[in-house]
Symmetry: C2
Subunit: 362 residues, 2 copies
């Protein structure tokens, strides 16, 4: 079969040139006679890849000298536990902002470790149709940190501006919108992002952490679960998932070659304008439940007049080579995930299909 257009929420589509390069280099990386799947994490060939991945992140995100870049395993779900283990001491509480499933999972892990509290919610009549505004939040100035999920893949909501938390550091799960545009890292105590949306295949988590926070973190947790230990060892305290980091390096090179984070923002806004534009133009047929200001640029959710029509939509789209358009089982409807690697031409094809589908079935 030829390649399809894959709207999966993650793991998700990767840039074709990145896949082609991995394929070309698979048996012999850089003239070494050894595959990147086999190279030692202590060898010169991998070290160069590791350092380049870090320096590309530093340049593209961009990451200031106040912050460390770490590569960790275990996904965002691992971070749900590691953040309170490192930064939530006994006698302190931490503020969590509720934008749905991922925030709740992060909260539940923090409850096992210490005392988190909800500081605001995007839930309206039982549904997560927006992210909370500053005025919706009740922040505790004595909190250890404020935790938020910058983009909610299930509800299709996204923070476009971040709350003012005073001197309390923001910890952000950016798994699903990391590097969709340049980030002002100085506003965050810690950012974490599973790679499998904007950065590469599953199996690696990028963490960007303020150095002074790492120094003040708990030393009562096992070393392998301390951010400070990972930082001291340049993320090489034990065997790194070398091939996965190589893929991240290649995706970052692709981002750079395509104009960097600002160009990604233009590209992503263009796709979002096309798709939300198409939904809004067919208001009676397609309907996005998310409040306009909170609409996600990464995951667009919408419904059709009936479940039957939604099923037909998915089947007809698949017949035209556009797959994984089904919404999350907890909310139903359609979901289109379009991370950095998804091109505007694919969204143009999709909206063309949507127009014609609405005409035929509306």
């Amino acid at each position: 079969m030829s390649r399809v257009i894959n709207f999966s929420p993650g793991p998700s589509t990767l840039p074709l040139p990145v896949l082609e390069r991995a394929q070309r280099e698979l048996l012999d990386f850089d003239g070494s006679g050894i595959s990147m799947l086999e190279h030692s994490h202590r060898g010169a060939k991998y070290s160069a890849v590791h350092e380049e991945a870090k320096s590309l992140l530093k340049e593209l995100v961009p990451v200031p000298d106040t912050h460390e870049i770490l590569f960790m395993q275990g996904g965002a779900t691992g971070q749900f536990a590691l953040v309170p283990m490192n930064f939530l001491p006994a006698g302190k509480s931490a503020d969590y902002i509720n934008t749905g499933s991922w925030s709740k999972k992060a909260f539940a892990e923090a409850e096992i470790v210490g005392e988190p509290r909800w500081a605001g919610t995007g839930q309206v009549d039982g549904k997560f149709i927006r992210v909370p505004k500053q005025s919706d939040l009740e922040l505790d100035s004595g909190a250890a940190y404020v935790h938020l999920t910058s983009n909610n893949t299930i509800a299709g909501t996204q923070f476009h501006t971040f709350p003012d938390t005073g001197s309390v550091p923001i910890v952000a799960d950016m798994s699903s919108d990391f590097l969709w545009r340049p980030i002002d890292v100085s506003r965050f105590g810690l950012i974490y992002a599973g790679a499998q949306k904007n950065l590469g295949p599953a199996g690696i988590t990028v963490v960007i952490a303020r150095k002074d926070l790492l120094e003040a973190a708990s030393t009562k947790v096992p070393k392998i679960f301390r951010y400070s230990f990972i930082a001291e060892n340049n993320s090489l305290q034990n065997t790194a998932p070398t091939f996965t980091i190589y893929m991240v390096r290649n995706v970052l090179q692709w981002v750079k070659e395509n104009g960097g984070a600002s160009a990604m923002e233009t590209r992503n806004q263009k796709k979002a304008n096309m798709l939300y534009g198409c939904i809004d133009e067919h208001e009676g047929f397609y309907r996005c439940p998310v409040e306009r200001e909170s609409r996600s640029v990464m995951n667009v959710v919408f419904t059709l007049p009936s479940e039957e029509l939604e099923k037909k939509f998915m089947a007809d789209a698949a017949a035209e080579g556009m797959v994984n358009t089904k919404g999350h089982r907890s909310v139903g409807g359609i979901r289109i995930s379009m991370y950095n690697a998804m091109g505007p031409q694919e969204i143009e094809k999709l909206t063309g299909f949507m127009k014609s589908f609405a005409q035929k079935n509306g």
Copy 2:
């Protein structure tokens, strides 16, 4: 460059047919139009791979119904912390057997969590030249578990029989010799193994755990760090490192096609006999510091009469396409790692080189 013979201790060489298959399938897995680097961990294509990897492990290791098979992230080093977090309650101690660097790291993490104690050592005059015998051990019948490292990659030692620990479960780090032959899993409470030696690329850890132990484990640790939670969710509680598990599946298929674990044992013993035989035949020139009964079948360490000759050995071997023969910096000398994927014909080439090197330089 053409492929070289790579004696790296890990990440290490993979079977060439496994790499060639990954290369062939890289842009389009199984006619889906989607790469395995992009497939969702919740989709049918990946699910089939996940289940096949598990059922191949069950068949090949083999794993009885009393035990669960888990896929986890974080490497053996993560397990150093997770084992005591799950199984070392306050008021109990755990016995650790010291066979060198890896045992000591496991012990150090356990010390942060609870009360481990040393129950025996393979150290003689400061050097790890053997694994302890039953008579060398002072086991505590009230211990929560007995921890051992089945093979020591640095010292080149290996347990060929496992101690009798009575009713105390054995927890074994088998990262560097998992599946080198069939394992009697019923003798173990928990086995863990980073994939990057015998199983696939770095980034996944296989865990085999006795079900009744999981049920009795601590519920005070975050869910993502509980073996029971991973087991309940079939290792899919969050995004699995899909491509890495796909590679493990392919390596396991290769093991099966090549006769299974018993055939691996024959193959590995043949390689070990050839290499140790060559060392022993040139006793004054090559010298293996490890006691005969504790010699590792996976990692063979030896010295030459001088450091200068060792350097020349490495350089001359590299010139003949045999790389990564350098011993670990903590012990020096030469180290040849020859996991399942390394063929007898490569060891034949090596011993041919060794004979001629000894003649020229002895």
